[in-house]
């Protein structure tokens, strides 16, 4: 099983600030997904990145897949309290029906 290291584990910032969350592995993934989870709910898919170097934007969220498909980042611009939640990256090893390999998540709190 491949491992995904996610950092930081916890992040508390003020509304309006920018932030970046990192997801790193020593192994290659065929695709990588980012999820957001709120307390008492299941993870909700934000984006899937597939191609090395790919950049996807979702409003104020920018997702990037590393050129070698070993790492990814999530950048939030002008964070808002509604962005508060647990952000999870998950790698798909590909080639079969295996489940995703998840990072342990980043707990993000945006203070008004």
């Amino acid at each position: 099983t491949q491992l995904l290291e996610q950092s930081p584990q916890f992040l508390s910032i003020q509304e309006g600030e920018n932030l970046t969350v990192y997801c790193n592995s020593s192994s290659v993934f065929s695709s990588l997904q980012w999820y957001r989870q709120e307390p008492g709910e299941g993870p909700v898919l934000l984006v899937t990145v597939v191609t090395g170097g790919e950049v996807k934007k979702l409003k104020r969220l920018t997702f990037q897949f590393g050129d070698a498909r070993k790492d990814s980042s999530l950048h939030i611009t002008a964070a808002q309290p509604g962005d508060t939640g647990l952000y999870l990256c998950a790698g798909d090893e590909g080639g079969g029906a295996d489940g995703l390999t998840f990072g342990k998540g980043t707990h993000l709190i945006i203070q008004p």
Partner: protein, 112 residues
């Protein structure tokens, strides 16, 4: 929208009981998954199924079994519940290989 429904949001059982967690998806997805989520450990794959009556062990299958008699339903069974199985259980499904997973809202299971 994809709908993955888990039968219970909260469940309290006693040590030694046989426990059934049910998951139903309404999008004719081929693959279904069961994860557990614990603080500091993230999501870990218990079992997955890539087709009806097919099942494969994930990373932590000990103490669990699964059943998939119909395509839309994937059940997780705790054969003899123990306190270390207290956790948040998440079901997910996807169309097929390399497609994103969609999660239910989870079942928070407490074993007393």
């Amino acid at each position: 929208d994809v709908k993955v429904t888990q039968s219970s949001r909260y469940l309290v059982k006693r040590t030694g009981e046989k426990v059934f967690l049910e998951c139903v998806q309404d999008m004719d997805h081929e693959n279904m998954f069961w994860y557990r989520q614990d603080p500091g450990l993230g999501l870990r794959l218990i079992y997955f199924s890539y087709d009806v009556k097919m099942k494969e062990k994930g990373d932590i299958p000990e103490g669990y079994s699964v059943s998939r008699e119909k395509k839309e339903r994937f059940s997780l069974i705790l054969e003899s519940a123990s306190t270390n199985q207290t956790s948040m259980y998440l079901c997910a499904s996807r169309t097929g290989f390399w497609q994103p997973q969609h999660f239910g809202d989870g079942t928070r299971l407490s074993i007393l």
